[in-house]
Amino acid sequence: MLDADFFRRWMVATAASVDREAERLTALDSPIGDADHGSNLQRGFTAVRASLEKEAPDTPGAVLTLAGRLLISTVGGASGPLYGTLLRRTGKALGDDSEVSAGQLAEALRAGVDGVMTLGGAAPGDKTMIDALVPAVDALGDGFATARAAAEEGAVATIPLQARKGRASYLGERSIGHQDPGATSSALLIAALAEAAGE
């Protein structure tokens, strides 16, 4: 079973990973976006980490809804509402239980990803964070490490795609050949989940 501390470790591991990879995310965002994905997410997850260190909510759902709310109020851009909605929806779907199973998490995360798709209007293949998240959620039943691999594969698979959502879509065919920064940061989020689980 997964408790609030597990979810806190997930968020802290994500913050550390975003710190490490911020420059790479920004570099990926440079040719097809506006070169701020790394610094924006870093600002958001730094706020999440600081808040969770000050007061840690005592249920898994509360940890994620708090993190989601902080991302919405600190990140800005499209990443703020999209990542914020992902975590808030997932947190809400987990409910008030003090411990949840891996199966419950998989189900809740699917609700979170559905929320992101509704908000952003993106579908798989549009070259967005969805291309890493959907395969990760599909693979979560087979374990955290499998989900991590699926997310990373999904992120790499965005390279040949043409962007249909967000700022990269304005480039049309010129967006082809670049890995999507949002799918890349989503893969980091799932990798941090595996890390929190010790896998």
Binding site: G33, A35, I72, G76, A78, P81, R164, R167, S169, L171
Partner: protein, 330 residues
């Protein structure tokens, strides 16, 4: 790249402190990043709130004041502000007559303003929204996020702001804003890329001797790259794209807008070519504005925006305005 800054992290806050010092008619909340006209809320008037990433100055903070915006929310450089900012701005400017959000069509701006509208409505504030999407360089199709909002934002904010200043009701101010957007088209070119403070190097590589056609205002590359053209050739290209998309029936307002690093000498020369092309096409020009209004940091280049106006829109354009960056009639 050398920049006149302290550190990248405080660029926006530092600029806000400078705006506060320069413009006593504005109340600047540096911590929460909201710029409000000092006399807000104005009784009986609809509040106009806009915002977007920083780096486009004077948009939007420079357009706060009598006859234009009631408040502006600057985000991080090229990053949409967060919903808390807009909700705070809406609360500061609502006199009970409601608030109009002027939103440029970028995914981040749209999502954050939508979330802010929910927060404001929870507080009992009536909110309407005008989405600006005037850029003809981006093909509008089922598979894109639609056209970008660029230079027409100035026309929407000025004309809807004038309607609000007259005390027109929210639905009317919203309708006028939409009418302005629907009758506006823009096209931009870049002669150089821009450099964000956080990254410190140009956001794309543009060799000397080449230009990008159809750029947006975020340093994103355009749709096409060509060998450098003359001012006259660029005016022909840009206006062809605009007029093909919107055959003019009425007189037009013209905005020849600098992207930040192109001198006025060049912008005025470019305007001469723009006026030549419009004359050749038989388009009547009602008013012309030349200058750096919707910029992209240190990008060199320019954009042209046309707005078709009827008598009512022209009257509202001519109405008095008093803001840091736009001022006439008072």
């Amino acid at each position: 790249m050398k920049m006149l800054i302290n550190v990248p992290e405080t660029v926006v806050a530092d600029a806000l402190r400078g705006i506060a010092a320069a413009h006593p008619d504005l109340t600047v909340d540096v911590e929460n990043r909201v710029i409000v006209r000092r006399d807000a809320p104005v009784a009986g008037q609809v509040g106009l709130v806009s915002g977007g990433g920083s780096g486009h100055e004077p948009l939007h903070g420079g357009f706060v004041g009598h006859g234009m915006l009631s408040a502006a929310c600057p985000g991080e450089v090229f990053t949409s502000p967060v919903p808390d900012q807009m909700a705070r701005a809406a609360a500061a400017v609502d006199s009970g007559a409601g608030v109009l959000f002027v939103v440029k069509n970028y995914t981040g701006d749209v999502l954050n303003f939508d979330m802010a509208a929910e927060l404001a409505e929870d507080e009992g504030i009536q909110v309407a929204k005008v989405l600006v999407n005037d850029d003809v360089a981006v093909t509008d199709s089922l598979y894109t996020a639609g056209r970008r909002g660029t230079g027409a934002t100035l026309f929407v904010e000025k004309i809807a702001g004038a309607a609000a200043a007259e005390g027109q009701p929210l639905e009317r101010v919203e309708a006028i804003g939409r009418q302005v957007n629907e009758n506006s088209r823009s096209f931009g070119v870049a002669l150089s890329a821009c450099t964000t403070p956080a990254k410190g190097t140009p956001t794309f590589d543009l060799p000397s001797g080449e230009l990008e056609l159809g750029i947006g205002i975020h340093g994103e590359p355009g749709r096409e790259r060509r060998a450098m053209m003359t001012s006259g050739e660029i005016a022909d290209f840009a206006l062809h794209a605009i007029l093909e998309d919107m055959p003019p029936r009425n007189p037009v307002l013209v905005l020849v807008n600098g992207m930040g690093a192109t001198p006025l000498l060049e912008l005025y020369g470019f305007n001469a070519e723009v006026q030549r092309v419009l004359g050749e096409r038989g388009v009547t020009v009602a008013r012309t504005l030349v200058g750096n209004y919707v910029t992209s940091l240190d990008m060199a280049g320019a954009s042209v925006t046309l707005c078709q106006v009827d008598e009512e829109l022209l009257r509202l354009w001519d109405a008095p305005v008093k803001t840091p960056a736009l001022r006439w009639g008072m």
